[in-house]
Amino acid sequence: MKIHPAAWAALVVLFAAVIGLQMLQAAQPPLATPEGVATNLLYVRSPQVLRRATLSFHALLADIYWIRAVQHYGGTKLSKAPNKQYDVLYPLLDLTSSLDPYFDVVYKFGSVFLAEPYPAGAGRPDEAIALLQKGLRTTPDKWELAQGIGFVYYWWLADYQNAAMWFNRAADAPKAPNWLRPLAAVTLAEGGNRASSRMLWTEISRNADADWLRDQASFRLKQLDALDGIDFIQRIVDQYRARTGAPPTSWDDMMRLGLLRGVPPDPTGVPFRLEPATGKVTLDPSSSLNPLPSAERPL
């Protein structure tokens, strides 16, 4: 049967109309969500029900839930909303790991998403530990998971006793690297100092299997370098004060005395800041390394 040319024309017109109307719709402001209506919905929360319902396709569904978890974390983290809600992050990760218990990355990255302090992350180190322990129940020989628990205790909870215990447990695993035992010893002896933090982040940087985790380790190492730099320059400022009886008001004062050859930069290249009144050396507020670890947020 021959198709009338008008039919082809109508087809093209209708197709263009559909696209145009969709563009018009996309340009409309979004409808307001009524108060109290949850936007992050999980229709099925039971891992057992979900596992049964997906027959032989639970690995594929685990992938879909993983993508949802990554989107939920990334979307919430980047959103400008005043009260960010990571409320379904743990249930999503829990469902993903129940559908595919061997999906290592869910435990490794998921614990990072959960442990990071609010609002950059969920601020739930307890849930991060629970997730990693779930992974260890499936694969008890995975040293990375035990090391991850040690890391959460070390970095986010500042509990060096438990951190050392988990680093030791990781070191007991059959394929554990040989740096874990010294890390456990250093953590137990001098937990929270820069040397043990440097060791931890250096090893994470070497062993990370994702670029963003390696970038995070590199960032933390730069922060440690900045702290070392501040200490070093602060000692020179103290020398200036000892010689002149007053703190320097600028870097030029110190250069004139021959204590510095130029304005000292932090590891990102931004010059350090010298407070003229007190002679205290700090990061410049514009430095991307802010905020540095402190007494409130230890190493």
């Binding site: 685990a62 989107q71 999906f103 990355v105």
Partner: protein, 268 residues
């Protein structure tokens, strides 16, 4: 034997005429577009997800072909009354039935083989474009040959589904056959629950019935090793061998039942 071959080849030609092989294009487009789009969404898990997606797609595409073509294999001949002409030829009913079965299995084998080739091509491409540090973190290369174990068992599962669809097709309408075949396939995936049912109920009779059903219904979950191969877990050849023997035995049982049912049908 010759008659079986003729019928089988005709079933394959008919499936080509019915554009069944178009699904291969859909499969290739799905995998290629997923491999391109998925990278940004998965925090570095794109190869794992493409592996899962490819295996699941091979299984789903195959299942749709097995069910929706399988149910019409005999019914179509009866409906068009061509069965009278066919059975008037020097061909026994069991030859006709086995030919139909083998023809659809041939279609499925060719489909699965082409999908597997496309699957490995996409994985090889992803391996080639992945940076060396990412490749070093994988437990096995993207083109791990062990994936073939899962595909082989998917193929066996499809052969069993085809046999079941053919059995229902010998005495039932296509709609009912599709419903029944799908129901058997779904129940076959809940087999583990039927076995464990006894531990959750107090009635010994109900537990015994559930256990009986567990042994009778085909255990489709046994054919599923997709999760294991994607995570480079060992799937012993002993397991594959036993599952293959189980699958082939079950297929023989279903086909024999289909032959008996079909032989009893009155076409006069």
């Amino acid at each position: 034997m010759r008659a079986i071959g003729y019928v089988a080849v005709n079933v394959f030609k008919e499936s080509v005429r019915d554009k069944v092989l178009y699904n291969l294009v859909a499969f290739a487009v799905l995998l290629m577009s997923a491999s391109y789009l998925i990278g940004e969404l998965t925090a570095g898990q794109d190869v794992k997800i493409i592996k899962d997606l490819g295996l699941a797609s091979i299984s789903v595409f195959g299942l749709l072909i097995a069910i929706f073509i399988g149910i019409g294999l005999v019914w179509k001949e009866v409906e068009k009354r061509s069965i009278y002409t066919l059975l008037a030829k020097p061909m026994r009913r069991q030859e006709f039935l086995l030919g139909k079965y083998l023809g659809l299995v041939l279609t499925l084998v060719i489909n699965v083989a082409v999908m597997t080739a496309a699957y490995y091509a996409v994985l090889a491409y992803m391996q080639a474009i992945s940076p060396p540090n990412l490749r070093a973190s994988w437990p096995v290369p993207a083109t791990d040959p062990a994936l073939l174990k899962a595909i082989a068992l998917v193929m066996l599962e499809l052969m069993l589904v085809t046999a079941i669809a053919l059995l229902f097709s010998t005495f039932s309408s296509p709609f009912l056959s599709a419903m029944l075949t799908t129901a058997v396939w779904v129940i076959g995936h809940f087999n583990q629950d039927l076995r464990d049912y006894g531990s959750t109920i107090s009635s010994p009779l109900a537990a015994a019935i559930a256990r009986g059903v567990y042994y009778v219904i085909p255990n489709f979950s046994a054919f599923d090793v997709k999760l294991q191969v994607v995570h480079a877990q060992t799937v012993p050849f002993g397991y594959i061998g036993l599952t293959t023997v189980y699958g082939l035995t079950y297929i023989a049982l279903v086909l024999l039942t289909a032959v008996i049912v079909f032989s009893k049908r009155d076409f006069k």
